[in-house]
Symmetry: C3
Subunit: 632 residues, 3 copies
């Protein structure tokens, strides 16, 4: 209790009367001290007075004189505290007095110290980050500088408690620390929004603390690779955003490419965020509620996926009072095809971060992304894979994870056939962690195979086994070996049945052109899918001939292209074909030597003929190798 | 307590013995009053007697004389009530006596007054509408004239309490009102089925109250439209049925056409029923448990959908003791294709209501439907859309909703291109609510687009945003504008790529015939689907030529047809083709100028040739316009 | 309490001091007896001493002399037991003494007697079969010789209690029996792993009891059928394995063929196992958590299915601490196509049992299966259907079920057109249970139809209605009749539209060959699917011609084959075709006269031509009839 005098009280001790702050509790009332009270009830045997919101008591009629009205002020002194805690007062004999305010100075309890205060009353100050109306109490999730804790306030079954309080308000609670379903929860006794200077001060304090805590860890790069440095700076900013998102109690949704590099990107980030969420949030369910990861059906963010994600997010907001999520696109999300989905989410104020190494269209997506980390934006290319980037990101978010994931950049690089010079360093690094190169290749093949059969479910426990993360090493070995050998066998079956139907011709520029009808001459709806099948066929011809080779795998309404030794510039070709073959509905893209084209079924022949003509004119460049990732 | 004398007790006060009704509680036993008891146990220190099911006690051996056998009657008086509530009795000194029944007259508590009786013992009378056996107690859901409340009775873990009580029984419970998981629940102390006159009386009272409460609200039509009046009478009957269904605690399942009109029909009904359920049922989970809405995969009720629905319903009955649901078909469900599904549900006594404006086949479905509201049954047609009907229905069920949905008939009409004269009034009405016609058109396009990408999930929060219901207006504007522009762009892409492949010929009757191979010359599995794509192409040709136009969009095993200015009578054509092209597996239907046909792939050419021949013979009628809804 | 003297205590009574075992409870402390204690705290008013982990108390300073340090030993006697259970002690006047250990001899409570001990402290000994870490306590599932019970131990919210205890350990718990969520649960006070001889003894005792209880019931065969006997011996072994699996608390997953015989196999096994699980496990959720049944998408165990199953199992292990499941393959699972899935599961130590009557490839699957029951392995064939086998199996596991399922072998046989002589007996048996043959045929058709529309959901309540199990007879009749007539109608529609397109030729061997293009001349994605459609067409031709007939139904990448009267030996044909048509990607199989072939689309013509050539050379054998099951 602090007593601030309205004047100099040294000389006028007799005439001081104390005025309790509304939040003062009974134990701040001292005997033989006059307090200002307000009459709130009159009964036969006396009057009831309020000294604060929490301090009331009886003045017995035997000690009263005169008449009283409810609402009148009265100066009283404590008479007695009964066994049951009830207070009684007597009128104090004062006439003139100085009024002195008594602040209820509460000591705040940080959400990091709740366990130690189990069963006790505490005061917590923080920002409301989620309000869930249950059939019973209203659950406020309160974030202070240490963490996030659920606080239950009960008004009436299913009725919103403290309806004036919204997400984003800075509040002070007094509450009892309880264990509910065996997790720490606050039972709210009082809750009020701070306002004015108090709110500003608290908000600044929380913001400062949150900024500090959001700061990514300053980890050094796994390997010495100058090309990575500008990207790492951007990743640090992403790490900061994601950590702040966790501290703000906002959910995070990850959508990623359903292939090896995509998995190597998404799983480390998942582990880092789940662990950080568990550190920050008192509720043991928080990692499950606040993080979700899903592979994408298509190599871009389809409207079917985004409307589904949005619907779930809106339902979670309606049912659980969750904030709308932050979306993270991994190994995907850089192109114009993503725009309709991005626009949809933009109208719901769902921020989007993209980390990708596919050829980007920054004009299309730039304004829609809150962050866009892509090597092409720094004159680098696909050789810096998304998995390499995300392992760095995961370490910045949760550095304790570092040792468990140091081999994943190498797996990511092999999965996407990265020809980066730095691959040697990544492979050395993996070797230090006990993974030799042959095994890493097996992991990469096994990963691709497992990702294929998982289709569009996350399959976390299976993928972590394949990656060797949070998994017994012998078990990891066994799982990888089994999937790898199943994958090889499946690839061999495709090659055996497709090869007899490979059509060969020699182009004017001297390159070999191989065509394969993947609809009619490969097994469909099995592993490997047309894209990978075409890649495998192509690799075989490159090895066999040693010459420049182009391979086209075509289906009824698509073609996948690969070149070794011929500079195709596929994005340019696609642009030209759109003009040259009207009504073919052409779309697609890729790189110099790897890409895919879609068209309407009825124009396949025209499109492929025009395409081959261009290929025959394309310049030979024996340096070029079709090693970039190819979307199926 | 009422005491009914068996004879005239005025003179014979000494010889009266009271016989307690089995349900009498201990507090009805008065001192110094003789009661008839039955001996139910004999021990060393005395005998135990029962005065009622709830009143037992000891007669100490010190006050007993003679011998006693279990089952014997004995007249006793109250001796003492011990602190723990146990009673002791002494034998009463009576020889001859008149027996007077003591009824246990309880004052019933309505389920609307439970909150006020929290913690108290109450008596509730009602009908059992659901019995859920949990691993612990049995949960009886009891409906009285005010609402439905869950009542937990515990026998032994997982063992059915009161096994003789079934759904449909009228019962009386004495129970304690508790808050469990923060919702009101009764803790059953006693439960018995009423029988005989009591049951009849209670059942009549409940039925009367339920009938009264089921009565739909007498709302006036949104607009003055005589054509609607006979349908509104039928809708009032449907509203009554649905309100009664809610009062009976029976779940409701809505299956609806996955397009704009279907959404405009289903969502208002959803909101009305969810709000009414929340009013009626104490359990805050009730709206979620008792109402489900799903778009249908096909333009009819496929067996795959109905077996799935049925399986869920049977599982809900097995797991949760739910009654099998009432099914409501919206903007669907009028044709012979629905019959196999309807028959399946009929064998499970699942009643079906259909509200639809597609051309009906009442001979096929009539007997299987409990209500069939369709403008064609009143010599009206598709111009009265299902959305227009269901907004009226929703208002009858829950009139408070009226202002929020008054613009939806206009949206529904635009979505299905209704050419009703009343459209002008609906558009005026929407304008009053702040929606101008251009915006309504955008809503309708946005809705169709959103429904397409939602596929077959309900997506309620997204759809309500598009509809502008329970949604911030600015947000609604933004969402609509975004979806509408995405939709236009997607339509333009289809038209651009399809138009070069449009085949034209002039028919003998002078009409233009356009054909488009939608499989080979449009983008598949994207928006717009073949039906809408054909419609857009057709509209373009109608506008361009100004002449009578027929457009056929065909795929491998289907064709969609539209005509402006030629009277096709598609149902008739389909019937003739069935005969003329045997083994083509023809089915389909539609209206005079809009329809679709399915066939087996191998007979496509034959079917379309025969079809075109008929089109060439069809009479020109420039009044006719292909504006009716077309199922994709 | 047993007291084992360290020496001869007869003469030295004064000098004996007892040393309590750490687990001794307060009630083992006797007055006027000296005990060895350890000082664990010193306060103003005395010292606190420990006699065991559970026995502590105060020695008042008034009776103490000298100085004491925490950790010192002290011999004490009981002074008093206070009302609240607190003990006080006095120092005992002993100088030299013999120390005598006091073992805490507990009487174990079997998990079958927990209900009777509600609220009491009990000791339970058993094996840990599941450890679930919740956000609060750790839940240990303990299996003793009577059942399995969950035991909650709380360390700190979300923190693993007793981290040294693993699944598989044999432990002793002292715990309080509680009802939690209304099921019996133990609240752990102490838990320790047994070791050494104790562990060995307990493990042997449990193993013996479990072996005894796992013993299948010795039921006699439903009918007298010698061919079944060797299979029944194997089934008894499977029954033992499954019962033991239940007793071990391990989950069971059933994957089965999605047709009539598959359902007749899987559903009785489901009922038997669910009932046995309910008997064994205290938790009422156990049957739902420990048993799952799913029809398979393909006629073999696809990798998509197995990775999904595996992912769920790994998630259940991670989230709920469940053991990985036992897999049971029914009416499926005997061929090389199952191998990749089996290998995947093998690396996770998931045992697999297969009961099947399809032509097996024991070389491929033998090593991967823990049991493989298949009539072909006993020179019998498909005529012994999986349903017949599994009804026997279900009876061995849970004989009370026998009467409810005695008609199912007949249904299974009719569904798979078994020509076994024993069919007559099965049909008689069903007749005894009230099912005449015509009705059984209807059940079989209805079952096939329902299974088709359920696709790949289990649909248990619908299927049990069709089977007439756990279902009202009148309702069963109605459901069967409705599905059967829908099925007939659908079949007739397929036949009507397909028949005009049937191509006929006479083969050199005199047989009729009929071909039908099921892609182009039947309705796709409806009932009946191509396999059954081909069968129905074939049957019609057999009946009509009376001659040897072969029918081929072909689609873009598959053909289904049936023969009556011609010995095709399809597995042999497939093997030859693989060589003769390279690059056709041929796979497939079947029996002498029934089978299917898959190939890549582009080689269809070549494959079918080669096939027909072989058919023309195949020997006539009028005995042969194509009645075996055919996978769609």
């Amino acid at each position: 209790m602090t007593r601030e005098t309205a004047g100099d009280i040294g000389e006028t001790r007799e005439t001081v009367v104390y005025d309790l702050d509304p939040s003062c509790p009974p134990d701040e009332v001292e005997p033989e001290t006059p307090y200002l009270a307000e009459i709130n009830g009159i009964v036969d045997y006396g009057i009831f007075v309020d000294l604060s919101d929490n301090v009331s008591g009886l003045v017995h009629e035997s000690v009263l004189e005169g008449t009283y009205r409810v609402g009148d002020e009265l100066v009283v002194e404590l008479e007695a505290v009964r066994e049951d805690g009830d207070l009684s007062f007597t009128p104090a004999d004062v006439e003139e007095y100085d009024l002195v305010s008594v602040e209820h100075e509460v000591s705040l309890t940080g959400t990091d110290r709740l366990e130690a205060n189990l069963g006790e009353q505490v005061h917590v100050e923080g920002e409301i980050v989620q309000i869930k109306q249950t059939g019973g109490p209203t659950i406020f999730h309160v974030a202070d500088e240490y963490g996030v804790v659920p606080a239950a306030a009960f008004e009436e079954a299913g009725v919103r408690a403290f309806p004036s309080i919204d997400v984003g308000d800075v509040v002070r609670l007094n509450a009892t620390v309880e264990r509910r379903n065996d997790a720490i929860q606050l039972e709210v006794d009082g809750l009020s929004a701070l306002d004015g200077d108090d709110a500003t001060a608290a908000r600044e304090r929380l913001a400062t603390a949150r900024d500090e805590r959001a700061e990514p860890h300053d980890v050094s790069s796994l390997i010495d690779w100058p090309a990575l440095e500008p990207l790492r700076e951007e990743l640090a900013e992403v790490a900061r955003t994601l950590r702040r998102t966790v501290l703000e109690g906002r959910p995070i949704r990850v959508r990623h490419h359903a292939d090896g590099d995509g998995m190597c990107a998404a799983v480390p980030l998942q582990l880092a965020l789940e662990r950080f969420i568990a550190d920050v949030h008192e509720s043991p369910e928080a990692p499950r509620h606040l993080f979700k990861r899903l592979p994408s059906k298509a190599p871009y963010y389809e409207l079917e996926d985004s409307t589904r994600d949005l619907t779930f997010a809106l339902e979670d907001r309606a049912k659980h009072g969750q904030q709308l999520p932050m979306l993270v696109m991994l190994d995907n999300g850089s192109t114009a095809e993503d725009v309709p989905s991005y626009e949809t989410l933009a109208h719901y104020d769902i921020p989007i971060l993209a980390i990708d190494h596919h050829h980007p269209d920054p004009d299309a997506v730039g304004d829609l992304l809150d962050a866009h980390v892509n090597p092409y934006l720094h004159d680098e290319d696909y050789r810096i894979t998304t998995g390499m980037l995300c392992v760095e990101l995961a370490r910045m978010i949760y550095p304790d994870l570092a040792d468990e994931i140091s081999h994943l950049p190498a797996v990511a690089g092999l999965a996407d056939r990265s020809k980066a010079d730095a691959m040697a360093d990544y492979i050395d690094l993996a070797a230090d962690a006990g993974y030799d190169e042959a095994h890493l290749r097996d992991v990469s093949e096994a990963l691709d195979y497992a990702a294929h059969w998982l289709r569009y479910s996350a399959g976390t426990p299976l993928i972590t086994d394949v990656l060797g993360v949070e998994c017994d090493p012998a078990h990891h070995e066994a799982v990888v070996s089994m999937f790898e050998s199943s994958a090889s066998e499946a690839i061999q079956t495709q090659l055996d049945d497709a090869s007899p139907h490979l059509e060969h011709e020699s182009l004017d520029n001297g390159a070999h052109l191989y065509r394969i009808d993947v609809e009619n001459h490969t097994h469909r709806f099995t592993y490997p899918a047309p894209g990978k099948t075409t890649g495998e066929i192509h690799d075989e011809q490159v090895t066999e001939t040693g010459d420049p080779v182009i391979t086209v795998g075509y289906g009824p309404d698509f073609a996948v292209l690969r070149s070794d030794g011929v500079r195709l510039d596929i994005p340019e070709m696609v642009a030209e074909l759109k003009d040259e073959v009207p009504g073919a509905g052409i779309s697609g893209g890729g790189h110099l030597v790897v890409g895919s084209i879609k068209f309407v079924r009825g124009k396949r022949e025209d499109v492929i003929d025009a395409l081959v003509e261009k290929m025959a004119d394309a310049p030979i460049d024996e340096e070029l190798s079709s090693t970039a990732p190819l979307d199926d």
